[in-house]
């Protein structure tokens, strides 16, 4: 257990150091950029599961899934 706590602590410190090494503008814009990438991966998953959907259909399903996630966060 002590080893796990130590590992968690080391990993967190590494995360902090990585953030400190980034520029202010990269940290600020990382949020929208990471979201964009996450959406691209989610859209690929939707296309794989629903090959019949066109781009508008994929976007609609992606938006619905994100809305469900938002609702979960609020609940």
């Amino acid at each position: 257990m002590a080893n796990l706590t130590l590992l968690t602590s080391i990993l967190y410190r590494e995360e902090v150091e990585r953030a400190r090494a980034m520029t202010d503008q990269d940290r600020l814009l990382a949020g929208p950029r990471l979201f964009h990438r996450a959406c691209a991966v989610m859209a690929d998953g939707i296309r794989h599961a629903h090959p019949d959907l066109d781009d508008d259909g994929v976007t609609a399903l992606l938006t619905a899934r994100l809305e469900r996630l938002r609702a979960l966060e609020r609940s």
């Binding site: 968690t8 602590s9 967190y12 410190r13 995360e15 902090v16 990585r18 953030a19 400190r20 980034m22 202010d24 503008q25 940290r27 600020l28 814009l29 990382a30 949020g31 929208p32 950029r33 990471l34 979201f35 964009h36 990438r37 996450a38 959406c39 976007t59 992606l62 938006t63 994100l66 938002r70 966060e73 609020r74």
Partner: protein, 186 residues
Amino acid sequence: MTPDEATLAVIDALESVGLRYLIVGSLASNFHGIPRATQAADFVVDIAMSDVTRLADALPPGLTLQRQVAFETVTGTTRYLITVSGSPFVCALFVCADDPHDLERLRRRLRVSILGRQAFVATAEDTLVTKLRWALIARRGKDVEDVRNIIGVRSSELDWGYLLQWATAHGTGTLLDEIRTSIPQQ
């Protein structure tokens, strides 16, 4: 238009119209802490009804300012939404309220440089004060994580007197202590 391009375009529009604003929410906590993905770019804006059309006109194609104002039940604030064509990403403009801390964070906002342009961002302390408040009210885990990460990255630079003053006023002092003690020491 990608979400980061949309964020920069909204900053440009706010600057060109000359409204008092600041970047808040997860963008501000990313700026001061450890970045994470975010579905929205949040701004607090000192905006009157008469400014809405001017701001809408200053936005580039692909961004649409929804004219109807919405009420946020969790935060008790009103906001306008800017939607991004072809993306679920949104920019939210929260109308600056008479709340004492809202006014204070607008006064203390930082002028920073983002990809060759100037923008206003909430200070680390004011981002923490707001995140603590919403963590207490809305019980959102991501607010607690954001507080932890800002303190983890900026701890030695923070104005703890200012932070504790608002934490006491908002009843978030205990939560702040709990989060602070959970952070691994260097």
